[in-house]
């Protein structure tokens, strides 16, 4: 391995990214990678690019279109997919990839649809789902927190919210997992080809479901979005499908890691687990701390639309920069004892839901799910302990989540 200061693509990186972040903050906090991408490791700088209007979201669909163009021109040897057009369409209108005015219009429509059933109304159902999942594994005295619980709960919640039939869930979880890899910056064109296939199947499924809801409205989010489309003629068919794919993807792939990383943090800090078990009223603060301590989304990307000086460097117009949220959240200039799990921090302004006008729309739902899921584990399972070695971290660069988390309990 050549001397390279910061390489999140290194297979060893995920074992302990915080060690690498610490070094980056100390040695080169405004870091330009050998391929010209910037990584901002300090809280202040990361927050700046998330909030400053001289930065816009990194247009991943345009990147995919570019890759599709390379494929269509058949410039590469080897077996590559013919194009990535289905993937481009499926992600084209995601809120995370667009800016005003389209962003303002679609975000308003989605928030309105969300508001029809407030997040707090969902609490009871999330709790029931969490309890059901735990009760089904309880007799065996062991479970994989990821596969048996954290992976199923958020998908169940988002499927309920959107109005997807239960029998289709496992298929959709699979498709969601594939499409969510879109945030991973280090994929080969063959891997993109797999995503394109998943996007095609996902869109076809949603097209059918939307047709059904149009004919027979239900009290769900898809119906609400369909109706918004009809009343205000404000959402195109492509926008509607793309938005549904986004809600699925954003609603499950991140929350699974909030739950998984949170439970892991407790397993590794048994005194904190005991304290939280006895003081469930501080679950909201605990979940904020899990979000800070081991963020489900470790970095998020922006593009400069003009030259912006940061520190003694200049990020030039058109260049891509990552706000390294996982590092910002552990910046000792902002958080005392950043590597410790501390539930009663006076303020905990982590960047795990980003900041600015792209602040995560699903944050209230994610918080609720985190509180209910981890609360249910503590309430229903006694003496939870890790079994064997940790199965390791998923090979994602941007999403941080475990392959599995086998535990036993009394």
């Amino acid at each position: 391995m050549a001397a390279i200061l910061f390489n999140p693509g290194d297979p060893q990186f995920n074992a302990d990214p915080y060690r690498h972040y610490r070094r980056l903050r100390q040695e080169d906090p405004v870091h330009r990678s050998p391929l010209g991408v910037w990584f901002l490791a300090r809280y202040e700088d990361a927050r700046l690019i998330l909030r400053d209007r001289r930065f816009v979201v990194w247009d991943i669909p345009a990147q995919v279109e570019k890759k599709s163009g390379i494929l269509k021109r058949a410039l590469l040897s080897g077996s590559q997919p013919a194009h990535l057009d289905n993937l481009t369409v499926a992600i084209r209108h995601w809120l995370s990839f667009i800016e005003p005015p389209a962003h303002t219009r679609i975000r308003r429509l989605v928030s309105d649809a969300f508001r029809q059933r407030t997040v707090e109304e969902l609490r009871e159902r999330v709790r029931e789902s969490a309890n059901e999942l735990l009760d089904s594994v309880r007799p065996s005295g062991r479970m994989d927190v990821i596969a048996d619980f954290a992976r199923l709960l958020p998908s169940k919640v988002i499927a309920t919210l959107l109005g997807v039939p239960t029998e289709d869930m496992s298929r959709l979880i699979g498709l969601t997992e594939q499409v969510s890899r879109i945030f991973d910056p280090l994929m080969s064109l063959e891997q993109y080809g797999l995503l394109d296939g998943a996007a095609l199947e996902f869109a076809a499924y949603l097209r059918q479901l939307i047709k059904l809801r149009r004919a027979h409205p239900q009290p769900d989010l898809i119906t609400a979005l369909v109706q918004a489309q009809e009343q205000q003629d404000a959402l195109s068919d492509d926008e509607l499908i793309s938005t549904c794919v986004l809600l699925f993807s954003a609603g499950s792939e991140t929350t699974v890691n909030l739950i998984g990383n949170g439970v892991l943090a407790l397993l590794q800090n048994p005194d904190k687990m005991a304290y939280l078990r006895e003081h469930p009223q501080i679950l909201p603060q605990a979940v904020e701390e899990f979000l800070r301590y081991d963020a489900p989304l470790q970095m998020t990307s922006r593009t400069a639309i003009e030259d912006v000086p940061i520190g003694n460097k200049v990020i030039h117009e058109g260049e891509q920069a990552y706000a390294v949220v996982g590092s910002a959240n552990r910046d000792p200039d902002v958080f005392a004892d950043p590597d410790e799990l501390v539930f009663d921090r006076a303020s905990n302004h982590h960047l795990s839901f980003a900041a600015g006008h792209h602040l995560c729309l699903g944050a209230p739902l994610a918080r609720l799910e985190g509180q209910e899921a981890i609360g249910a584990v503590l309430e229903r399972l006694k003496d939870v302990q890790l079994v064997g070695d940790l199965p390791g971290w998923r090979a994602h660069v941007v999403l941080r989540g475990l392959n599995g988390l086998p535990v036993r309990f009394g």
Partner: protein
């Protein structure tokens, strides 16, 4: 399969020229890959293809770790470093 320095260099030149749609003569061995506007997933794909061609698995971030043709070809054909991944 052992490839010589010249073979690896020629492979990299031809791929980079084809991708950038420029003449192979115009490829500068010491110029950073970044200057050729190499797309990230094209870089990952190239690392895969190169690994298949030389017969061993290479790091997906190879083109980040070895930033130009000379350095990369040297590292891949250095008998002292058969483990370059």
């Amino acid at each position: 399969m052992n490839r010589t320095y010249d073979e690896v260099e020629a492979w990299l030149i031809s791929q980079l020229a084809a991708l950038s749609e420029i003449d192979p003569e115009a490829i500068d061995l010491d110029r950073p890959f970044i200057d050729y506007h190499l797309d990230s997933s094209v870089a990952v794909t190239l690392a895969l293809e190169l690994g298949r061609w030389i017969g061993r698995e290479l790091s997906p971030t190879l083109f980040w770790e070895y930033p130009n043709i000379s350095v990369l070809a040297a590292a891949l054909t250095d008998p002292q470093r058969p483990g370059v991944h």
